[in-house]
């Protein structure tokens, strides 16, 4: 059995429940409280602990803080950084310059470190956007080496080989010279990063990251600006890595070139992998271990480079879910067995005919929600769509049929914006979207389902419904980080709609189940419901009945008619299952070999000898 990959393994999810995450003011309050308490905390703890142990714990927690952003990048957004040490170094040197050389408050140093990390990430990330994961690894590797060998050695800026001293943080007149105080502060900062990370993952930004990782096309169809979110992920990573670097600098006491080597970068990759991608607790634990233990047990130091990579390799090959996976399994066991894989979908699919009310938007009802004008799509020398012109009428179900390879899905992809057209025009709800990127076309009032279910199988049903509403979230990504009140409100609305949808579909009991646990037919229903909910204008359904039994397909036909009649939406449908087409469509377009063969009512199509020949083929014309 092939080993699961980093991407295809079931998500090690943090527990999701419908309770909202802590808004930022609560986080802030906690932070301030702890910060104020930390000196007392330090005094209190200095009994059982001595200063040396405190310092070791500092390293442990700082490593944990440094590992979380890498987990965000690799685990959530599915990108990689082989230059993590360089980002940490940027932060450390920034603090060295601000707090050390210039003697300014350490908080300022921290902020500058974050800014520097973010800027560095932006500079690297922007060009790397077009480069896929593999090459990004190279670019970050190069960045790491370049920083190490050049920038961190420049006498003028970074103090050359000797580095810059980073003094203990000072808050006003109070200096964290005591190791215990430092530990308390480090814990507080780590906690802040943890909470921010946790909050972020409960907003549309976090969900967008997860979608990016899995299916970029699906993400774009939900209105997610894929390149932009990739950059967000990278910049966030840079900022938090910079912050962690700053803390590291304070803990070590100076920023020096030799700290930020290539293998230091790799250690963090190892930490994240062993901890289990996406598992905050696993990663933090594993980082803590790596940070604290070599210093606690001196002899371990030599063995780190031996044990760690061996562990990673072992993990990759045998237990891809890592430490976090083990934790998740325990969580699962405690929570009790979830519903076993649902077998038959016939009864389920047939029974519940209700569908959610779509969200009201201001896209106008035009006579022809979709007009395709002479569209040509070419892949190299192959012409997949050869000058096709067709339209779809308002509040009707229009079918698109044709033999395999006729170009139907390619046409859909052209309409969605997932492939480029070489020629022609596409107008959705009266808006010419021909030049628009895919994620903007969704806003024109168009929803889409995919042949392979266009949802993220590792997320729960609820999370998928939230993801589908991405562009309906009323807040912007920047405020998501701070989890301002508008974010809470926005999220609450999204969750209400998701819950309502679930109750209307009578799927409440699947709310927290992984989408992948549902039967195919049920997944399809969730997908269609999500599309219908968020796109009142036009629904593009790509072979929705694929893999369904005839009975389930009939139930699906009922739902489609219901969507047309009771909800008033427009459907454009690719189908192979001809009884479904015959039963539901008001009009049918037939494609063959990239061209539009004919158009007519189902009855007309059925009688058309050319159509019959195209389907049954095998004959020279």
């Amino acid at each position: 059995m092939a080993a699961k990959t980093l991407e295809r393994e079931p998500a090690v999810r943090t527990t999701f429940s419908l309770s909202a995450p802590r808004p930022s003011w609560q986080v802030g309050l906690v932070f301030v409280a702890f910060a104020a308490l930390s000196p007392f905390l330090g005094r209190a703890l200095s009994g059982p602990f001595n200063g040396y142990h405190a310092l070791i714990l500092c390293f442990g927690v700082t490593y944990a803080m440094a590992a979380l952003p890498l987990n965000l990048l690799m685990g959530y957004a599915g990108q990689i950084s082989l230059g993590h040490a360089a980002f940490l170094g940027v932060g450390a040197y920034a603090s060295g310059i601000i707090a050390g050389r210039l003697g300014l408050p350490f908080v300022l140093g921290l902020l500058v470190a974050m800014a520097a990390g973010a800027v560095a990430a932006l500079v690297i990330g922007l060009p790397a956007l077009r480069i896929r994961g593999l090459y990004l690894a190279l670019v970050t590797l190069g960045f790491g080496l370049a920083m190490y060998s050049l920038v961190f050695r420049l006498r003028a800026v970074t103090g050359g080989y000797a580095g810059i001293a980073v003094p203990r943080p000072k808050a006003g007149t109070f200096e964290f010279s005591n190791n215990m105080d430092l530990l308390a502060m480090v814990i507080v900062l780590f906690g802040a990063v943890w909470l921010l990370d946790r909050n972020l993952m409960r907003t549309k930004v976090g969900r967008a990251f997860l979608a990016l990782r899995e299916e970029e096309d699906v993400a774009a169809a939900f209105g997610i600006d894929v390149p932009r979110y990739k950059i967000y992920a990278f910049v966030l990573y840079g900022a938090f890595a910079g912050a962690a670097g700053s803390v590291l600098g304070h803990v070590i006491g100076f920023a020096q070139q030799e700290t930020f080597t290539f293998d230091f970068s790799l250690i963090f990759v190892v930490i994240v992998l062993i901890g289990g991608l996406r598992s905050r607790s696993g990663v933090a634990l594993s980082a803590f271990f790596f940070g604290a233990s070599p210093r606690l047990f001196g002899f371990l130091h030599d063995w780190v480079l031996l044990v760690a990579p061996a562990l990673v390799l072992f993990t990759l090959v045998r237990h891809p879910r890592g430490l976090g996976g083990a934790i998740a399994e325990i969580q699962h066991a405690i929570r009790g067995r979830r519903s076993a894989k649902i077998e038959s979908d016939d009864d389920e699919a047939a029974g519940h005919l209700a569908l959610p009310r779509p969200v009201a938007t201001d896209t106008r009802d035009v006579e022809k929600p979709l007009v395709v004008g002479d569209v040509v799509v070419r892949f190299g020398g192959l012409v997949a769509v050869d000058g096709v012109s067709l339209d779809v009428e308002h509040n009707r179900i229009t079918g698109l049929i044709g033999p395999n390879g006729a170009g139907k899905t390619t046409l859909f992809n052209a309409v969605s914006g997932l492939v480029q057209t070489q020629q022609g025009q596409i107008v959705v709800n009266g808006v010419d979207v021909t030049k628009m990127p895919a994620h903007r076309r969704a806003a024109a009032g168009m929803g889409r389902t995919f042949q392979q279910i266009g949802l993220v199988k590792d997320l729960s049903v609820t999370e998928n419904l939230l993801l589908a509403q991405h562009r309906l979230a009323s807040y912007d990504p920047v405020s998501a980080l701070g989890f301002l009140p508008q974010v809470s409100r926005g999220e609450r609305r999204l969750r209400e709609r998701a819950a309502e949808t679930l109750s209307v579909l009578r799927f409440e009991r699947y709310a927290d189940a992984d989408l992948g646990e549902l039967s195919h037919g049920q997944q399809r229903i969730v997908e269609i419901a999500a599309a219908s909910l968020t796109s009142p204008g036009l629904l593009l359904l790509d072979e929705p009945s694929a893999g369904m039994s005839p009975a389930a397909a009939e139930a699906l036909a009922e739902r489609l008619i219901q969507i047309r009649d009771e909800i008033g939406q427009t459907i454009f449908l690719i189908e192979h299952h001809l009884p479904l087409v015959m039963a539901t469509c008001d009009r049918v377009h037939v494609m063959d070999s990239g061209r539009l063969l004919t158009t007519g009512t189902p009855a007309e199509i059925r009688r058309n000898p050319d159509v019959v020949a195209a389907y049954l083929g095998g004959r020279a014309r």
Partner: protein
Amino acid sequence: MGTILVIGIATGAVYGLFAFGLVLVYKATRVLNFAQAEIGAFAAFLTWTLTNPVHLPWALAAGIALAASGIVGMAFERLVIRPLISASRLTLVVATVSAGLLVGGVELKAWGGNPKILSSPFTFRGPSIAGVVLPPPRLVALIIGIVAAAVAAWFFRRTTFGLALLAAAQDVVGVRLTGIRLRHLSAFTWGVSSVIGGITGIVIALSLGAFAPFFMARLMLLAFAAAVVGGMTSLPGALVGGVAVGVAEATIAHFWISVPGLVETVMFGVIVLVLLVRPSGLLGRAA
């Protein structure tokens, strides 16, 4: 000018050879072998042990070391790469990176962090071209590079095995369906590229004088630049790219010798630039 060119070509030959190994593995298995550098370092360390404390003849020592690196490469292919055959590229990158770390860790444990000096087996000074003495190790690398290119050219097009290697990079399943045992192909490629890594490791160790674990990291960056410039899927491109990088490095070293780390930074910039502008490199085809 001539000096720079000669130095550039001499060093570039080594980069090119290393890049050749990288591209070979990439062409046949679509995996970027981040561990090749450390395997090369391993070969150097092993040669040192076999020549210094254990006084084996140099050629024998090097031979054993190269065989060992080939075995390490094949073992890695068997134990890690093959089980991960359907994994994402990201997973494979991490796997090879970890493997490199592991080998480095072994080196640290076995040989310690103190630099070692590998004594040169060559008694002659090496030819003098354009006023520059071409050190024998470099000369050897250059010769090996040329021979490797010639052998590869013959091998890939003329033998069924070689053809299958090329085909495997285009369509793995298709190769399986011809009945050819893919695992042999894969093992072979990794073995060869590891040996190439070993050769370059020994050559660099000789050139550097003193070497310590992870000394090949810098070479990695330069060789990747070479492979990217030449085109990740082009074997001759790797050699050409290597020479280009070598010359660039010699030029930079000549004019801006006072700025440390400039070469690495420039190479980094080159990689990014090429990937942006022409990802298939000079001679490669769209990957």
